[in-house]
């Protein structure tokens, strides 16, 4: 099965921005409510899921880059 990998660098950048913009949400909630509060834990779970998505997206994007680089080098 082939995938359209065009534009994944842009998506990776957007996802990275999303991750950095939400990174302090658990910190704010932890400082106000404590580490064990349900809201804090929900926010931590949210940040963890974004981090996993960004990591996998980066990996996917990076795995496609060498092919593009090879063609550009030619």
């Amino acid at each position: 099965m082939t995938f359209d990998t065009r534009g994944f660098s842009q998506l990776t950048r957007q996802a990275t921005d999303l991750m950095s913009e939400t990174a302090d949400v658990p910190t704010v909630l932890r400082s106000r409510l404590g580490a064990q509060h349900q809201l804090t834990r929900a926010a931590q779970e949210m940040v963890a899921s974004i981090e996993i998505f960004v990591r996998e997206l980066r990996s996917f994007d990076a795995s496609g880059e060498p092919v593009v680089t090879d063609y550009q080098d030619l």
């Binding site: 995938f3 359209d4 990998t5 065009r6 534009g7 994944f8 998506l11 957007q14 996802a15 921005d17 999303l18 913009e21 939400t22 949400v25 704010v28 909630l29 106000r32 409510l33 404590g34 509060h37 349900q38 809201l39 929900a42 926010a43 779970e45 949210m46 899921s49 974004i50 996993i52 998505f53 996998e56 997206l57 996917f60």
Partner: protein, 174 residues
């Protein structure tokens, strides 16, 4: 344990924007890789987690406002004058008429209804509320779009007219 109102505003604004971006990312990834690809599912999971967190933060903010309202009621019962957080409700015109030909299910109807409801309830509408309502309509549209696309891909035989159009536009003889 106490969260100041400014923190709630910051969290809701941050999470609303994040939800919108995550939904758009999920749509973009899904359109390239398909809805069953693990990356699409991770994107959907991230968007869903943001949605859940936003809902819980909003719920906590609403509880906080209710607590403030309860304090006002207590003051009233004790005949203590406590300043109200909102101005007195002003008469609200209901003269809005949707443009002719606009589909009854168009998002504008729900958006305007929400604005009127907010105006009636609190005597005004803030820019933040209007932005939040508009964001809700946008998110709802994107969710419906995702569901419709998934349905079309899974059950194309249920949408013969779309399939016919697609064939006509892609066929060199069409």
């Amino acid at each position: 344990m106490y969260i100041p109102e400014a923190d709630f505003e910051y969290l809701i604004r941050t999470l609303s924007e994040a939800r919108s971006r995550a939904t758009e990312l999920a749509v973009s990834v899904g359109s390239r890789l398909g809805s069953e690809h693990p990356l699409t599912q991770l994107a959907n999971a991230a968007a869903s987690n943001i949605e859940n967190t936003l809902r819980e933060v909003r719920s906590a903010a609403a509880e906080r406002q209710e607590s403030a309202g309860g304090l006002a009621d207590l003051g009233s019962a004790l005949q203590i004058e406590i300043p109200t957080p909102h101005p007195a409700p002003a008469p609200v015109s209901t003269a809005f008429t949707p443009p002719a030909g606009l589909d009854p299910e168009h998002w504008l109807h729900a958006f305007v209804d929400q604005l009127w409801a907010q105006a009636r309830a609190s005597g005004g509408v803030s820019f933040e509320s209007a932005e939040r309502f508009l964001q809700q309509r946008k998110d709802e549209f994107l969710r419906d779009f995702l569901i419709a696309r998934r349905m079309y891909r899974t059950y194309p035989h249920l949408f013969p007219e779309i399939a016919d159009e697609t064939r006509q536009t892609t066929s060199p003889l069409g």
